[in-house]
């Protein structure tokens, strides 16, 4: 997995490329916890080719943390494999999923 943060007009987006699984959750958490921009951030999943249940838990954790602080985390352009998993787990009902930002 490759994870990086891009910033557009001071708003950060966490970009996850490759396989996002239990081995990568610590790196994801470190990056997300280091973002202290008021108003939150987006997560770009367009280049994420696999996601497992441990990684889904991390997305949920990030979403809960954001909502506790009064903002939301959007999932941007999830790839086909990720979209399928989000639908299969009903998490598309919990997240703000944006296909065409």
């Amino acid at each position: 997995m490759n994870i990086r943060v891009t910033t557009t007009l001071s708003f950060p987006t966490v970009v996850i490329e490759g396989r996002f699984d239990a081995h990568e959750t610590a790196a994801f958490r470190e990056v997300v916890d280091s973002i202290d921009t008021p108003g939150g951030f987006d997560i770009d999943l367009s280049e994420t080719r696999f996601i497992d249940s441990a990684a889904l838990s991390e997305l949920v954790r990030a979403m809960k943390h954001a909502r506790e602080h009064g903002y939301d985390v959007r999932l941007l352009r999830p790839s086909d494999p990720v979209s399928v998993i989000l639908e299969l787990t009903g998490l598309d009902l919990a997240f703000d999923v944006v296909d065409h930002p």
Partner: protein, 441 residues
């Protein structure tokens, strides 16, 4: 005459001197022999099964003999300390090197020509061992003794390293035993016997990917109602298994308590019970629940983020089976504090089946990384509708194992199959009995 007497006295005196020398030489030879024996024991003595304290004790005793010291103190940075020889001199050594923590590298040797010669030598990997030697009172350590100190220190380093490896291996073995015990305990919550109910044939199986499973299934058979739940805790291994035991137990007790309510209401009650626990641990749990009342030709399903539930009905016209998937109507437990799901009613006439599985089936990869997929599971079920539940479970596991041949099991695998065997109430009759959260039939 007097000359003879003088010669005689000289001879006696010389004889006495020679006897003294002989005694000293004999004593020295005995000491040397003892030292050689001690050196032999030191070299032969293994540390493969000794603790660090035992190594330190053995080393102090043998070093004192080998070196011919008045006292010896050996300790490591883990604070295992042993003394040998004269107690008073050993206490002097302890004052020099202390009983805990690292020894300063400047502490090497202190020679007081009137009373003592003290040598401190650090040894072992990263200088974790300390050897302090006190020469006999009034004597200095000889060159030979200094070389013996070096030899003992080098050997002591190897012994401590072996002991550290031995202790690490012991800790690993204890941890592995604890994990195995915890996994065995966790597995106890999974049912070992299937419900024996007239009109329905039930079979279930759960295969963990590792030692312990995060998947579970459970039954609540009470009055005229059977509730079946299948769940999957996020993650794998022991943390998932520990959470699984909690959620599984809560699910069964809630289902028994609320067996008159709909599956969606049971799910909501379970969520209310476990949400905070899941929130603290950062885990989520997918769960699907089905409820069947004896004799009914319909079964109710609620799905919170779990793999699709399959409904398989015989189609006499096409001589195959129609397969319907029930996707989740809500996210998994642990995502939202206030979980709301809906109920889907499925036909459950004699010959029909309902199959609840975990994602470890469809998401098993083959050697090229391709998933088995839900379409393939559906195809398999479409051709297995007339066999027993046990056969369907076995066929599904065989198919998954065949697909994943040559690759590791990527996730826990669980299947529960319910197959209807006798006639009963229709869908319309079921809906007339009520159910505000029923959305379709």
């Amino acid at each position: 005459m007097s000359e003879h007497v003088t010669v005689g006295v000289d001879l006696v005196s010389r004889l006495a001197t020679v006897e003294d020398e002989l005694t000293r030489t004999t004593a020295a030879l005995i000491d040397a022999y003892d030292q050689m024996l001690a050196l032999y024991e030191l070299v032969q003595g293994g540390a493969a099964s000794l603790s660090r304290l035992e190594v330190v004790q053995q080393l102090a005793r043998q070093a004192c003999q080998v070196i011919g010291a008045h006292a010896v103190v050996v300790r490591d940075l883990g604070d295992a300390v042993a003394i040998a020889g004269d107690t008073s001199s050993a206490e002097t050594l302890l004052d020099v090197i202390g009983t805990t923590g690292p020894v300063p590298s400047t502490l090497l040797r202190a020679v007081d020509t009137q009373s003592s010669d003290v040598l401190v030598k650090r040894f072992g990997p990263s200088y974790t061992g300390v050897l302090a030697v006190h020469a006999p009172p009034g004597l200095r350590l000889t060159t030979a003794q200094l070389k013996l100190v070096d030899a003992v220190a080098n050997h002591g380093g190897q012994l401590l390293e072996l002991a550290a490896l031995h202790e690490a291996a012991l800790e690993t073995a204890i941890m592995e035993r604890d994990v195995a015990t915890a996994a065995t305990l966790a597995a106890q919550v999974l049912p070992t016997r299937m419900p024996d109910i007239e009109g329905i044939d039930v079979s279930g199986r759960c295969d963990p990917a590792r030692l312990a499973s995060g998947d579970y299934f459970t039954f609540a058979d009470i009055d005229d109602t059977l509730i079946v739940a299948v769940g999957d805790v996020s993650g794998k291994g022991l943390p998932a298994a520990l959470m699984m035991t909690t959620v599984s137990t809560t699910t069964r007790s809630t289902a028994l308590r609320l067996h008159r309510r709909s599956p969606a209401e049971v799910l909501q009650a379970i969520s209310d019970d476990v949400y905070e626990y899941l929130d603290v641990t950062g885990m989520i749990v997918t769960t699907a629940i089905v409820k069947w009342q004896r004799g009914d030709d319909v079964i109710a399903v609620a799905n919170a983020g779990h793999s699709p539930v399959f409904s398989v009905s015989a189609n006499r016209a096409s001589r195959s089976c129609d397969v319907t998937r029930v996707p989740p109507s809500s996210p998994p437990l642990g995502v939202l504090a206030n979980l709301r799901s809906t109920v889907r009613l499925l036909p459950f006439r004699p010959g029909d089946m309902v199959v609840l599985g975990s994602d470890g089936l469809a998401e098993q990869e083959d050697a090229s990384g391709a998933l088995l997929g839900y379409d393939e599971l559906e195809r398999l079920l479409a051709h297995g509708g007339t066999t027993s539940s046990d056969d369907v479970v076995a066929q599904l596991f065989d198919a998954v194992e065949c697909h994943g041949a040559g690759t590791a099991q990527s996730d826990d695998r669980t299947v529960v199959v319910l197959r209807r065997t006798a006639a009963g109430a229709t869908v319309d009759e079921f809906v007339r009995r009520g159910g505000s959260d029923v959305v379709s039939a």
